[in-house]
Symmetry: C2
Subunit: 369 residues, 2 copies
């Protein structure tokens, strides 16, 4: 999508042919700066520190992390260790694991001398596949927005609520939840996005608002607390969110607070869609609330907030009193019963075992193992 009018991706190979370029998302929305990663450790740090985040982008970055590790040492041991280090950066992200398994599967059989070139090739292909997947999600999601716009008699604007950032900044390009929105915008539907701030890390207020603004999509930032009220007053036509992990029956783990919006959508008959690339489906799990491990993060993400002073300097301030502890979980699980439909690169389906198997028949047995 566009930044300052120029199309770009979130991850690329630098002109030196080996190091990896990224947008430093920790500096957004205040400053747009790119960073150059040259080692496995730098990639792992970029993921851990959330300079790059979003399940698909983390997968792509991890693939390039393997490339950078192999440049130093292309042995079996180095390959295994690189995968371990990268896997530990964000344990909830199922397509981080998927990307690393892809790399391992491709590289393991090759002699070490051929691994570096093959790794870069596979990582680049993973990126292109992610772009194709997200564009597919957009294409399949667009008719849902068109239908909502027609149901509304094409009056006013089409109000879509989203939580966190499942936009192009979370992927290589297009985004997952935002892909149908970008396509609707380009198709001339007057779409307007309610952007949940998404405490504690403010990915909505900082990243989603920034990327929608850069691409010219009308939007309004709201407190996470506001969505229910807006739905009660028919100010939300539909919700679309992303997911970090989807179970075989359609439970979805997404940024903390997603579950609350899904409850409000259900209570007000607002469609609640979840957009997902199929690599985020974990076919080994059924009951997401019970079985998806939820990452517990540093309470400082809640108690200390970064922002821009009038002088332009970006600083971090403490909002809580001294001595008050904070608890911080990264995700919650929205049960399938609250999800109107899943939007995947293969099409739209019910959030149910049958729905998912109808789109992924090759997995029909996977859930029984």
């Amino acid at each position: 999508m566009k930044v300052h009018g120029q199309p770009m991706r979130t991850i690329w190979i630098e002109p030196d042919g080996s190091s990896v370029g990224i947008i430093d998302q920790l500096r957004l929305p205040h400053v747009f700066v790119t960073a150059r990663l040259t080692t496995l450790e730098e990639v792992a740090h970029a993921i851990r520190s959330m300079q790059i985040r979003g399940a698909p982008l983390i997968g792509a970055a991890a693939a390039y992390g393997v490339c950078l590790a192999l440049r130093k040492d292309a042995s079996d041991g180095a390959l295994e260790q690189a995968c371990e280090v990268l896997m530990a950066t964000r344990p909830t992200a199922v397509n981080l694991r998927w990307a690393l398994e892809e790399m391992r599967r491709t590289l393991r059989p090759l002699p070490p001398s051929e691994r570096v070139a093959a790794a870069y090739q596979r990582a680049a292909a993973l990126c292109d596949e992610d772009v194709a997947i997200n564009h597919g999600i957009g294409t399949h999601g667009l008719p849902l927005l068109q239908a909502a716009w027609e149901r509304k008699g094409k009056q006013g604007r089409l109000n879509v609520l989203t939580h966190c950032n499942a936009g192009w900044l979370a992927t290589v390009d297009w985004g997952t939840a935002l892909a149908p929105i970008y396509l609707a915008h380009e198709a001339g539907i007057p779409v307007h996005v309610w952007v949940d701030e998404t405490r504690p890390r403010n990915q909505g207020a900082s990243l989603t608002a920034w990327e929608l603004g850069q691409h010219g999509v009308p939007h309004t930032v709201i407190a996470d607390n506001l969505g229910g009220h807006l739905m009660q007053h028919a100010e939300v036509d539909l919700c679309i969110v992303g997911t970090d992990r989807t179970t075989a029956r359609g439970d979805v783990a997404n940024k903390i607070g997603t579950y609350l919006k899904a409850l409000a959508a259900k209570d007000n008959d607002v469609p609640f869609y979840v957009a997902l690339p199929s690599p985020t489906i974990d076919w080994t799990l059924e009951d997401g609330v019970r079985d998806i491990p939820i990452e517990q993060r540093d309470g400082a993400e809640l108690t200390d907030i970064s922002g821009r002073l009038p002088s332009g300097d970006v600083v971090t301030v403490r909002v809580t009193p001294p001595g008050s502890p904070a608890a911080n979980y990264g995700f919650d699980v929205t049960p399938a019963r609250l999800v109107t439909a899943l939007i995947t690169e293969r099409g739209v389906c019910a959030a149910s075992p049958e729905g998912l198997r109808s789109l992924f028949p090759e997995r029909a047995r996977g859930t029984e193992t």
Copy 2:
């Protein structure tokens, strides 16, 4: 309740016998400072700027605002104008209106020369009545916490979730939602409070955390997004919130985001209690979602966050990108069907017309007018 170990109220008459002392709640939790109000305009500003907030405290402050206005001019016109100015400060607060009507009713029949003394007397009585009401709410709410603690087999700790600040800082003393919690703490129940941050103004993170900490009640600050996840995992034994306005059938308008917590409580069979002094009941309304006007506030409350720098200075930072607008509503309405029970100074009742009338039989006809 206690500040630095000393019991105090949130509003008092200064030693000069006429000016009004308050805690400047905008400076909390970073700095504890008091302010001295000497004119109607200063009181109106203190309410508008939210140096003082919380429905009962606003009512008490407004009563003293009338006193200060009458000191300058005790005529009928001045009395009316003072009430108008004060009423306009926070249109959602129904007991602001109630307090002003009490003052008007008391003072109107008196000759102007007697009004100032009578006004101070009535305002002081209003404050004492508020303290008595809140202590009554605490007394009636305490058995609900005791019962929950017994249901839990008195194991671990009793986890109570609250939203915004309905503590003693929102009232003259004790608080509404927090009154039963303070009494449970004093009764030796190991109560622990999950304190919703309460975006956009962070009253939970700043005020509730501060007052619980000052009084020694264990608590943990959480993002507003977290409560649903905690309830899914049985980490919340019950919720108690306050309300700014309650309809005759038990719909409650409270700080934006309350509705989302009530939905999560319902979905997870967690009791959801609303504590209220009867002056916040608006007997003229039934359907809160339809009929309670919701105050729309400055978007800057969302986009600009105040906090403490490591140097100790308190500054305001911008969190959103330039050009991204923000929407901000102060309250939402939780329908009675999501409320387990109402806790009032007269006792506990169902959130229904019958429930409320059983406690307030004198109002049984009021709802029909």
